[in-house]
Symmetry: C2
Subunit: 492 residues, 2 copies
Amino acid sequence: MEAGTLDFESTVFDKEYVTFAGRREAIVRGGRHLFERLPAAFEGVRQLGVIGWGSQGPAQAQNLRDSLGDAVKVVVGLRSGSSSLDAARAAGFTEEDGTLGEMYEVIAASDMVLLLISDAAQAEHYRKIFDNLRPGTTLGLSHGFLLGHLLDIGERFPEEVDVIAVCPKGMGPSVRALYEQGATVNGAGINASFAVEQDVTGRALERALGWSVALGAPFTFQTTLGSEYLSDLCGERAILLAGVHGIVESLYRRYRDHGLDAKQAFRHSVESVTGPISKTISKSGLIGVYEKLDDQEKEIFATAYSAAYPVGLELTAEIYDEVSAGNEIRSVILAGWRSDRFPMGKIDQADMWRVGETVRADRAVDSDAPLDPFTAGVFCGVMMAQVDILLEQGHPYSEIANESVIEAVDSLNPYMHARGVAYMVDNCSTTARLGARKWAPNFDYRLTQQSYPAVDDKAVDPAPFEAFEGHLIHEVLRVCSEMRPSVDIFVE
Amino acid sequence: MEAGTLDFESTVFDKEYVTFAGRREAIVRGGRHLFERLPAAFEGVRQLGVIGWGSQGPAQAQNLRDSLGDAVKVVVGLRSGSSSLDAARAAGFTEEDGTLGEMYEVIAASDMVLLLISDAAQAEHYRKIFDNLRPGTTLGLSHGFLLGHLLDIGERFPEEVDVIAVCPKGMGPSVRALYEQGATVNGAGINASFAVEQDVTGRALERALGWSVALGAPFTFQTTLGSEYLSDLCGERAILLAGVHGIVESLYRRYRDHGLDAKQAFRHSVESVTGPISKTISKSGLIGVYEKLDDQEKEIFATAYSAAYPVGLELTAEIYDEVSAGNEIRSVILAGWRSDRFPMGKIDQADMWRVGETVRADRAVDSDAPLDPFTAGVFCGVMMAQVDILLEQGHPYSEIANESVIEAVDSLNPYMHARGVAYMVDNCSTTARLGARKWAPNFDYRLTQQSYPAVDDKAVDPAPFEAFEGHLIHEVLRVCSEMRPSVDIFVE
């Protein structure tokens, strides 16, 4: 992965360069005024097949239909007998007008096919899917998992098709909701990354950019399919889901041990992260959290940060290795085979999450959650550790900021804030849910075994925090915040 | 794996059949009176090279030298410049008399080579090791990890050598200490399993049995190299190390939450497992624990057992899959590459283990730890889940009993009893230490998320316990207890 070498030339859309901490990355700015260029971007595509009706499927099919109008026919493809057929019909995709059909027939009849079925289903059915792609078709993915699986089993994409990706940085319902808001609110939408893995038609780049613009992405960043799945699987197994879960469980226990009652412990751990810490990072970055603290709190933050950072670095490095080596992808496949016998259990039945229900119900009458400086230090330390691992591995700065920071504070933590940890984790993909379950307890144990005893024994090495204030991520996040969609993601 | 088909014919040692719950398994009974048969077993072996001086190396080299006398020359091989050279010299292996040398020279000069270096070193150096084996050499392993690694990378053992294994069911220091006791105490020693993976000389079986008898094994069971590493890696990642660690941490927290003070919580969790529960299982099996309880305690046990068993089953199935697929072996290799940057951290720095030091110091003045029926139910439920997964996978009964029950209560838990969890885990191999760190938190979380809430909500499905009293493992353990060495493993 050499992110520094990525660039592209589009004849349909205007490329801009964004400079992040001295590194230039090419992007495309979206907007409804560009929808008139979509026919040019989709030149040669008469039919666009959207396969699957899970999280991304309904959102993308509807956004694309609305954006493309008469230029391209958007057809949803589902397994025959799929339980989602009625939902697709309710959204206006019907057999009668030829916009709903059996998935393999839709694949064979489409010039561009967006494969939005689950990772497990992609792994199970990829051979038959590939066999149904006509030469010259553009295969679109919203996630690089399939590439990882193919690499793992020594297979490849068919040579005679384009392979591109557009990966929205939010769950499907948000992709739809912010698109709808975008009709009236300037700049509403979900940013996305794109990648061109194979280009046999010579149109792969324009189709990828057109797809992203049509979804309503305010900004579209470039990456590679490999970089996408590595950062995505690593991110959800580290700070985005597992990391934050392990952090708040370990902190809740620590605050209880230190004498806080259950509700206060919940406020100083979970509510502090999902409330003031996430909101502050969203507006003014990691450095913004630190700057909000008084001198005494800054010391507490610095100690907690330096104690947590090494644990975050060690575990994120382990997770990155496990993803790179294919272990995590194989684990997901194996879990799929066991899933009938062992359906995934609930993760929010312990006392602390029951307390959380009460805390949330009390919110209207109680004051806001505190910006706890210890909690903030731990959270920022583990988050920065992931940033540093992805930097070492050469990911694009825009991807690092999205997969380590922005997705956490703008997209995921709001779910935990609304209804607890399970609502955040179990609204994600099966791949993410499995990874979160496996790694969250490891963050908890390492923090409890190493970070907190170091704090209590006054044995924390201050080196990690010494690199905090001058870290290049602050400048990257400042630039990203200028590209932040104007509307917060709404969580029901 | 079809364990039912294993059998062997020896012309040197007397085979006996043991009947476990209707299944016959062939074994060899050891003893010092058989040492006179060792020259016949080792026929054609003039020099026996013992490579490595870690846990098994010193024990096996000394036991073999003492047992074989003048019949076979035992030579220790170490890396040049190895930090263990002095220790080997102190044990009487010296360059002067040709019983200590550079490892590749020793490998090339020996007729039988016991490869007792670490798993990581085997994975790193196997190619050069294989290149130095003369055709017709007998390669001996004490663990199947190398087979797993070779399968994972698509390699094989060299075709022109024997490949055998003898796997003592205890750590190296115990293998030496009980051998020494065996000189005066009849039946002292560590049981072992053996396997013949390749036999080009026609002498592989006799050499394997001779090796085990020479180590002082009171009983030697048959397995395959594949079965050995699957059950070994799975066992240490499940009940033997990770499982018991996660169990006692989750129970300690539960008992604290229920109002016990720190010492009492430690006694009802850790001390109960390492004390009365392990001692009872050792003498009278899992059923013996249940039979010691009064009626009210039996109900508590049954509920805890039924609540914990599904979690144990699900996680042990996951771990077994991860080991079978090669993921755990790859993880160990990857961790080796990271180990300079990220040395393994301590696992016993949290408050509960500091309390444990006090509890142990108080033992002389306080009464014995209680046989807590809830703790016993959880421990036995997770243990039985592992037994059932290994039964499903067709492992020999003797191996299942050893890798799920006997090693826990006779070999490992005594270490935790003596000095806490780190003393148990970190006296094991790097492979085991890594696996214990990764999976222990998962046992803790699943029990806390699923088992204990089910108990508190009175929503436990009683089905698992209904299969407990009639389970075939009780008969298997009864037969095994007749083969139990007469001396307990001594923990310093």
